[in-house]
């Protein structure tokens, strides 16, 4: 189709060709997946009779270049800016989801995360158990840097302050997420042995024996891997744990075939697309920036309502485990939270609520929000250290 145009494109439309290449580049900068095939098809459209009517050019290019609904929604703005506004490319990149890294922002995030982890443990030192105290003073910290992973995984995340340790913890979190997936998939393979006879296929196989049944075909139950949806509370009260869980989220989204991640504080944000970035540091930094709450309270109820209204239908199926990571300190109405939890309960298979506070001594779920949500939670578990997360995995495998 496009070969017939290739001959005269250079002589007739050198300008169009260059402009189109520029447009394709702008789209790519804005995270569109535009390849050579699309560009050459677009050129064919551009020099076809349809281009004589510019009004149909935009919908044509849109159908060609868009691949998802989010592309679709952003296309008009980018198109108008490029073809009507000329040199507005800079602004466009800023308003879109950045696919290329922003160096200044990255440095900011890199600086921000360790500072948070370093600066805050003093505030909670009073409530620690023995193990934590050892780590909180300077000596413990230096020792900790050489400790084995096993020790690290038992340490409360609040007390992991040494940058090396922090990095090691994050690596562990990512690996943990991967192991979870490995286990779940292996389970699928073990079950791949037939229990019932597949009559239709058995006959098919034995047609070559003249219909005498020699080879048997078994029917096996195919088990689809679990889908995991994680909602992470990134409010002020959680900020000691946020950096760690962001890393965990990245591991989950990266290695589960079906996983979705959301972050909420006063609002809810869908973060899986940012997490799919191959560059781990960049993805995590981007998210760490998004997760930095503005310091307002947590509105768990409202965030869940947003989730129920806009995302649940798409991301939840019958084999979905929903994991909420939050301390349950809700500044909204507890009744609202209860109501939204009830709705969620009906949609998904299991609800797991991970609460870092359970790991603290003498904790009981007193927060009113937590009280309202508890009746709908299948598993209420601690998540203050890596061990507690690892303990979760057999449970997930059984779902």
């Amino acid at each position: 189709m496009d070969s017939c145009f290739r001959g005269n494109e250079r002589s007739e439309m050198p300008g169009a060709r260059r402009r189109l290449a520029g447009f394709a580049r702008t789209l790519r900068d804005n995270g569109f997946k535009v390849g050579l095939a699309e560009t050459s098809d677009a050129l064919a459209v551009l020099i076809s009779p349809a281009a004589a009517r510019p009004i149909s050019l935009k919908p044509a290019l849109r159908a060609l270049f868009c691949a998802t609904h989010s592309d679709w929604e952003r296309f008009d703005e980018i198109f108008d800016a490029f073809w009507r506004g000329g040199g507005m490319r800079q602004r466009q990149i800023l308003s879109g989801t950045p696919s290329a890294g922003h160096a200044p922002a990255r440095r900011l995030a890199e600086a921000a995360v360790p500072q948070e982890a370093l600066g805050l443990p003093d505030r909670v030192e009073r409530r620690t158990d023995g193990e934590g105290e050892a780590a909180a003073d300077g000596r413990g910290r230096r020792e900790g840097a050489t400790r084995a992973e096993a020790l690290l995984s038992a340490l409360d995340l609040r007390h992991i302050v040494d940058p090396d340790e922090v990095a090691a913890t994050h690596a562990l979190a990512a690996r943990l997420a991967r192991t979870m997936r490995a286990r779940l998939v292996r389970r699928e393979q073990v079950r791949r042995r037939g229990r019932r006879l597949d009559l239709r296929r058995t006959i098919h196989r034995n047609v070559s024996h003249g219909g005498t049944l020699i080879e048997l075909a078994w029917r096996r139950r195919k088990i689809k891997p679990l889908r995991l949806v994680v909602l992470l509370d990134a409010s002020g009260s959680m900020n000691l744990y946020t950096a760690f869980f962001v890393r965990f989220l990245h591991g989950v989204v990266d290695s589960f075939r079906e996983a979705e991640a959301f972050v909420f504080h006063t609002r809810l944000a869908h973060v899986s697309p940012s997490l799919r970035d191959r560059d781990v540091t960049r993805a995590v930094d981007k998210l760490a920036l998004m997760a930095q709450g503005i310091g307002g309270g947590t509105r768990i109820g409202e965030s869940l309502a947003t989730f129920n209204r806009w995302h649940a239908r798409r991301v939840i199926n019958s084999r979905t485990a929903l994991m909420i990571v939050s301390d349950g300190y809700d500044t909204g109405e507890p009744a609202r939270l209860g109501e939204e939890m009830r709705r969620l309960r009906r949609r998904c298979r299991k609800i797991i609520w991970l609460n870092p506070l359970i790991g603290w001594r003498d904790y009981s779920p007193q927060a009113r929000g937590m009280q309202a949500a508890l009746p709908y939670v299948d598993l209420f578990a601690p998540a203050h250290n890596l061990e507690s997360l690892a303990a979760l995995e057999p449970y997930l495998a059984r779902i």
Partner: protein
């Protein structure tokens, strides 16, 4: 023979499909570049209708493949007719035919059951192949589909390779229950269908409902638009609108505002869950009716 873009929009109107502004362009482009078209949108916005309308526009046959979890090649591509094969073996054994001849015979076209995908590439004139709700099928099937859509040939071990006699026009629809692969998305043109705006929905009501007048159609369209803005579990689609229109036309209603009670009663056409039904009370229905004016 490629149709002009304007022709397509005219013809769509002629077959009774009230198109949104840009779908005609997408359909033209599909023809021009010979690429499949992927349609996405909420349930009930009329994605499947596009496939049907396209078939009507080209006067082509519509072959539909409804995807579901666990859909495999046997159900989508071809299958041997085992019962007839076995029967043939037994009868031919009886008359003492040799084994090679029997084998030759039972693996011939006569015993091949065409399923939608094979049927689509073996027609004399290009049909419209509608692959409905492709997101419901498994990933493996999606990969297989991708291969078929780029090569348009199928290999059947017992028969050899079957090449397409005509390249079908392919329309895929997706509800977004699962994320489709990038490869499939890149292979296709993309169009997102939204709920129709009030004017277009009124036009749809007018073309599809007998004996309804313009004022009422417009009122119903506004009413439905207002209902869609409510916080509902199942947002009513165009099919529901048409049900409501048919019901109200059947009740010989002239003006919605005159009969709020009847409107409340017939809301059952739009609200498909108990929860939504409970949420739209008489008061809410009255308030929505207020927006119709």
């Amino acid at each position: 023979m490629t149709l002009k873009r304007e022709d397509i929009s005219d013809k769509l109107a002629a077959v009774g499909y009230v198109a949104d502004r840009d779908i005609a362009t997408a359909l033209w482009l599909m023809e021009f570049l010979k690429r499949p078209l992927l349609l996405e949108g909420e349930a009930g916005v009329g994605k499947t209708e596009v496939g049907k309308a396209l078939a009507a526009v080209h006067g082509a046959e519509l072959i539909r493949l409804q995807c579901y979890e666990g859909l495999d090649q046997n159900a989508a591509l071809y299958e041997w007719n085992y019962q007839r094969q076995l029967l043939a073996i037994k009868t031919r054994e009886g008359i003492g035919e040799n084994a090679d001849a029997i084998e030759e015979h039972i693996f011939s076209e006569k015993y091949l059951l065409e399923r939608p995908l094979l049927a689509a590439i073996r027609r004399a004139t290009p049909p419209v192949l509608l692959i409905d709700e492709v997101d419901r099928a498994d990933e493996e099937f999606e990969a297989f589909l991708l291969e078929l859509l780029s090569d348009f040939q199928v290999s059947i071990p017992e028969l050899g390779t079957i090449k397409a006699t005509s390249i079908p026009r392919v329309v895929l629809t997706s509800n977004g229950t699962r994320e489709l692969s990038d490869a499939l998305r890149r292979r296709c043109l993309y169009h997102y269908i939204d709920f129709p705006e009030v004017d277009r929905e009124a036009k749809i009501i007018l073309t599809r409902t007998l004996g309804i007048d313009t004022t009422l159609a417009l009122q119903i369209a506004r009413m439905v638009a207002a209902v869609r803005k409510e916080d509902l579990r199942k947002v009513p689609g165009v099919a529901e609108t048409l049900d409501l229109a048919a019901t109200l036309a059947g009740l010989e209603m002239q003006d919605l505002r005159q009969e709020p009670e009847a409107v409340y009663e017939t809301m059952i056409c739009l609200l498909k869950t108990h929860e939504d039904r409970a949420r739209v009370t008489r008061e809410v229905s009255g308030r929505l009716l207020g927006k119709v004016a």
